[in-house]
């Protein structure tokens, strides 16, 4: 681009030369522009085809990685997901999947480092906090695990936050149960149960965990809730039976156990499970036959008390005879029995409710003391011992 100098003292020949120079520069710049344009389109074409190929590669490697992850082949998954990330470095799901694969492959340190870095860029991400909680749990760092679980509960989730938080809470409860921190687990489960929709599967899951957290009462409540759904699920019946039985609600347990055994799917259960439920029903029946409940007629109750008295005294006698030196607790028990009339008639008992209560009290005491000093009881003694744990609950509904 030669520069025009309008009033330059140039000769005509020089002016002509200058015009030639301008023309030449203009042509040179135009050809340069044309080259730029041509190169731009070539570059655009190359880059576009390259980008498309990169996307294809990212998709292909992601598929392989996820497949390997599902097939529990974390090492293969790591390679594949790393390759996918090389072509789609900003894909958040891929990053998390890779870290998961690292953790699954036992490369916990790498996985933790990776998740920590991800967390730094997305500190409130629920999924990353959850993965870190799992890794901390795996490493046995309970405090860190609980901290991350809590952060995951408080964190952000994409779209399905409500459901994912409930899942995290259930996972946290499971972890707490595994650490024998039943109170905390119970709290989490009760929160979950309180917020959960009226869904039988969720109720069954929470109830099962409550059972594991040694809270059969709340578990029974949830099983009962689950039983309101039609068709009645066998798992709900089994759970209700189990928990009612564990709570010594034998009358209630009997009802549930009978329903369980009559459920069409019960026969599909493994034999040992079936046997266990049948035993429970048999025990419940026997307990209800032994228990002198208030709804019985005066005579029937007196008969049961006399029978229980006989069973307890036989157990005490057997226990005493097995000992060379009699322990003081056993001696005190024997003394208490001796203070009662040796022979009792039904009429005496029918007319004296206080004596009835005193005898049953001594029966329960005898079964408890002898079970501690002379080994686990069997037969009716065992059943009486069960009643002794919570006599008032036997017929509770």
């Amino acid at each position: 681009m030669a520069v025009l100098q309008l009033r330059s003292p140039l000769t005509p020949e020089e002016r002509q030369q200058r015009q030639k120079l301008i023309l030449r520069d203009t042509i040179a710049l135009l050809s340069l522009f044309a080259i730029v344009l041509l190169l731009f389109f070539i570059t655009l074409f190359l880059f576009h085809s390259f980008s498309v190929h990169r996307q294809e590669l990212a998709y292909r490697w992601r598929g392989r990685g996820e497949k390997a992850l599902r097939a529990n082949q974390p090492l293969v998954a790591i390679d594949a997901l790393r390759s996918a990330l090389a072509y789609a470095p900003d894909d958040e799901t891929l990053q998390i999947e890779l870290a998961e694969a690292l953790g699954a492959a036992g490369r916990t340190q790498e996985a933790v480092a990776y998740f920590n870095t991800l967390l730094e860029s997305r500190p409130g991400n629920g999924l990353i906090n959850l993965q870190l909680a799992r890794l901390a749990a795996k490493q046995g760092d309970e405090a860190k695990a609980l901290e991350y679980y809590q952060a995951a509960l408080d964190g952000t989730w994409n779209g399905d936050g409500y459901v994912r938080r409930r899942e995290v809470r259930l996972e946290l409860a499971q972890y707490l149960i595994s650490r024998k921190r039943y109170d905390q687990a119970r709290n989490q489960l009760l929160i979950t149960a309180g917020n959960a929709p009226d869904d039988v599967n969720i109720e069954l899951q929470v109830a099962g965990l409550l059972e594991s957290a040694q809270d059969p009462a709340n578990a029974l409540h949830l099983y009962q809730k689950a039983l309101q759904h039609k068709p009645v699920q066998l798992a709900a019946l089994e759970g209700a039976s189990r928990t009612a039985y564990a709570l010594n609600h034998y009358l209630q347990a009997k009802t549930y156990l009978e329903r369980t055994l009559n459920h069409p799917d019960f026969e599909k259960q493994p034999a040992d499970v079936q046997a266990r439920f049948r035993d429970m029903l048999s025990d419940s029946d026997h307990i209800l036959l032994l228990y002198p409940g208030p709804e019985l007629s005066i005579r029937d109750r007196a008969e049961r008390i006399l029978n229980n008295r006989k069973i307890a005294q036989q157990r005490l006698a057997a226990c005493l005879s097995s000992k060379t030196t009699i322990p003081p607790a056993l001696q005190a028990l024997a003394n208490q029995w001796q203070q009662l009339p040796k022979t009792l008639r039904l009429l005496q008992l029918e007319q004296n409710p206080e004596l009835e209560q005193q005898i049953m009290q001594l029966v329960y005491q005898t079964e408890q003391v002898t079970s501690q000093l002379c080994g686990a009881p069997t037969g009716d003694d065992a059943l009486l011992l069960k009643i002794a744990q919570a006599p008032e609950a036997v017929e509770q509904q």
Binding site: V3, E14, L21, L32, V36
Partner: protein
């Protein structure tokens, strides 16, 4: 970074070319006469064209590397694949044959070739070299050699600039300046960081800030980055995680990183300085197979379990920055990368050291960060921050470009909160490296190539002398213009001075020599005021901060020069003579 072949071929061309001028071309003298401002105006327009062209070419170059990598090494190279052994070896053999038979000027990185073009060949880089550099570097890097694309991109940019400037028949002086402009454009597009590219070219190619070329360098670099970002996006070549300085105690860890980086830079420099001349000294026929053998060895490193060291390794830098590796693996990768790059580069395979330097720095930084995170979790910031600082550390320690190293980290991170760790770690690494290896690596290569290019480190630190350095107190008589000739004669003869200074009514000065005074006394009445006998010419106005050489051309006319005070007009700061100036230069 061999310049020897270029010397033999291009030097001849560069000498012959200007002589063989087509008939319709204008000579520089003609152009200067008919369009004196043409070059100056074209300079800025062409800078933009050069930037755009370089940007497009570098995008193509990077795409070519990636395509070659995918086609030859596969989309996900991993340990145990036999192609990791075969491909780099074959690529090396093919590239060596091309370099030996067709493109003798393409060996090495490109930085020293660009410097040689600037200082020796009047900015001349041939079209053949640009094409050769593009093809051979893409093949070598894409084929798995442990080299980077930035330095070749720098040379490609410089070559484009040289071609454009030649096509427009610019003056030799302008032609020479276009090489660094194109270099900045090429590097900026390759690294997607214009400020770092500009600073690197100033630090490593030009050696000093030059206002004449800075504007054009900036224009070209920005144009090329704008073009590159149209394709790659605004993100740097690797994703930068959140970087912060959490705890001031972390600075201790950054200082440790500086020390580690300084020693790593030393090991890297020593390894290259040792192996490269030995391989070059082998018989010429071995140069056909050296890159192949180097490729085989680099491939072996990948084959046995570390494919990450192959190629430029940007995705590995990205992974390290995002905490995907444990510290032991990171350390192993850093050491193996030093080995692999030493092998690839020393064998004469075309490709740059910019990316390997970033790689090693990132691995070392991430390693230190991960170690700290593991053992001192309450103190550690993000692993990414350490990796980023590590990059700067190696840059300062190995490439010895301290200013670029700091600004590069700030530019790619876009976060100034990390400036303190960066400066601390880089300074430690730079000083350590400089103390243990006085000659910078680029200078080592130029010496090995038998060239004597200016040392950029020395140029940067060269202190310019000023008039104040040669200034002495006013020891010649100072006479007022109104005083008579007789009085002046008396004063001068009493002082036995060779000259005197005449202070005139308008604040200007005249330095009157003894001879002039004697001559005036002989022809003029002694009662005449001295200002009347003086010619209209006045002593030049000089100030103490002006360059010392600015006074030299006045001495044939003036026996002594008054140096003025900038704050109060007419007040003398001192005087200087030619002897003072020469004496000062001799002392320097």
């Amino acid at each position: 970074m061999s310049v020897q072949p270029m010397q033999e071929t291009e030097a001849k061309q560069s000498v012959k070319k200007p002589v063989k001028r087509p008939k319709n071309e204008f000579s520089q003298l003609e152009i200067e006469k008919i369009a004196p401002t043409r070059d100056e105006r074209l300079f800025l327009v062409l800078s933009i064209f050069i930037g755009v062209l370089s940007g497009l070419l570098v995008v193509c170059f990077r795409v070519a590397i990636e395509w070659i990598k995918i086609l030859t090494l596969g989309s996900a190279p991993h340990a145990g694949q036999y192609r990791l052994l075969i491909v780099p070896a074959l690529a090396g053999l093919f590239v060596a044959a091309l370099a030996q038979l067709f493109f003798p000027g393409v060996r090495g990185s490109g930085v020293n070739q660009t410097k040689a073009a600037l200082y020796i060949y009047n900015g001349y880089i041939s079209f053949k070299t640009v094409i050769g550099k593009f093809v051979t570097s893409a093949l070598a890097i894409g084929g798995g050699h442990s080299l980077g694309p930035e330095d070749p991109a720098l040379q490609i940019g410089a070559g484009v600039a040289s071609m454009v400037a030649r096509r427009l028949n610019l003056s030799k002086q302008r032609l020479r300046l276009f090489a660094p402009i194109g270099a900045a454009a090429g590097l900026a597009a390759a690294f997607n960081a214009p400020i770092s590219a500009i600073l690197f070219v100033i630090e490593e190619v030009i050696g000093q800030w030059s206002a004449a070329v800075l504007g054009s360098i900036v224009l070209a670099a920005i144009s090329s980055v704008v073009v590159a970002r149209q394709f790659w996006g605004a993100e740097p070549i690797f994703r930068i995680p959140t970087v912060t300085l959490r705890d001031p105690r972390e600075l201790i860890a950054y200082a440790v990183l500086g020390v580690v980086g300084g020693f790593a830079a030393l090991v890297f420099s020593k390894a290259l300085g040792y192996l490269r001349p030995r391989l070059r000294a082998l018989p010429t026929w071995t140069q056909y197979c050296q890159p192949g053998v180097a490729g085989l060895l680099v491939g072996l490193i990948g084959f046995i379990g570390f494919p990450q060291v192959m190629g430029p390794g940007y995705e590995v830098i990205d992974q390290a920055m995002h905490g995907q590796f444990a510290w032991k693996l990171l350390l192993a990768l850093a050491l193996l990368k030093i080995l692999a790059t030493t092998l690839s580069f020393s064998s004469g395979t075309p490709g740059g050291m910019f990316a390997p330097t970033l790689f090693i720095g990132a691995m070392l930084g991430a390693s230190v960060g991960s170690f700290e995170k593991l053992f001192f979790p309450h103190l550690a910031g993000t692993v990414g921050a350490y990796a980023l600082v590590g990059i700067g550390v190696l840059f300062a320690g190995f490439l010895r470009a301290p200013l670029t190293s700091v600004f590069m980290v700030l530019e790619v991170s876009g976060n100034y909160s990390i400036i303190l760790p960066v400066i601390l770690a880089n300074m430690i690494a730079y000083l350590l490296s400089r103390g243990l290896q006085p000659v910078p690596i680029f200078e080592v290569f130029t010496h090995q190539d038998g060239l004597d290019l200016p040392s950029m480190e020395e140029v940067r630190e060269e202190s310019e002398l000023h008039l104040e350095d040669a200034l002495r107190p006013v020891d010649v008589p100072v006479i007022k213009g109104q005083q008579t000739l007789g009085e002046a004669t008396k004063i001068v003869s009493a002082a036995h001075a060779p000259a005197c200074l005449i202070s005139l009514w308008d604040g200007s000065w005249y330095a009157l020599s003894d001879e002039e005074l004697t001559s005036a006394s002989a022809t003029t009445n002694t009662d005449t005021p001295i200002e009347r006998i003086l010619p209209s010419e006045r002593a030049p106005i000089l100030f103490p901060d002006m360059p010392l050489d600015s006074a030299l051309h006045f001495f044939p006319r003036w026996p002594v020069l008054p140096i003025m005070n900038r704050a109060s007009k007419g007040k003398l700061e001192g005087v200087i003579t030619q002897d003072d100036v020469l004496h000062r230069y001799q002392e320097h």
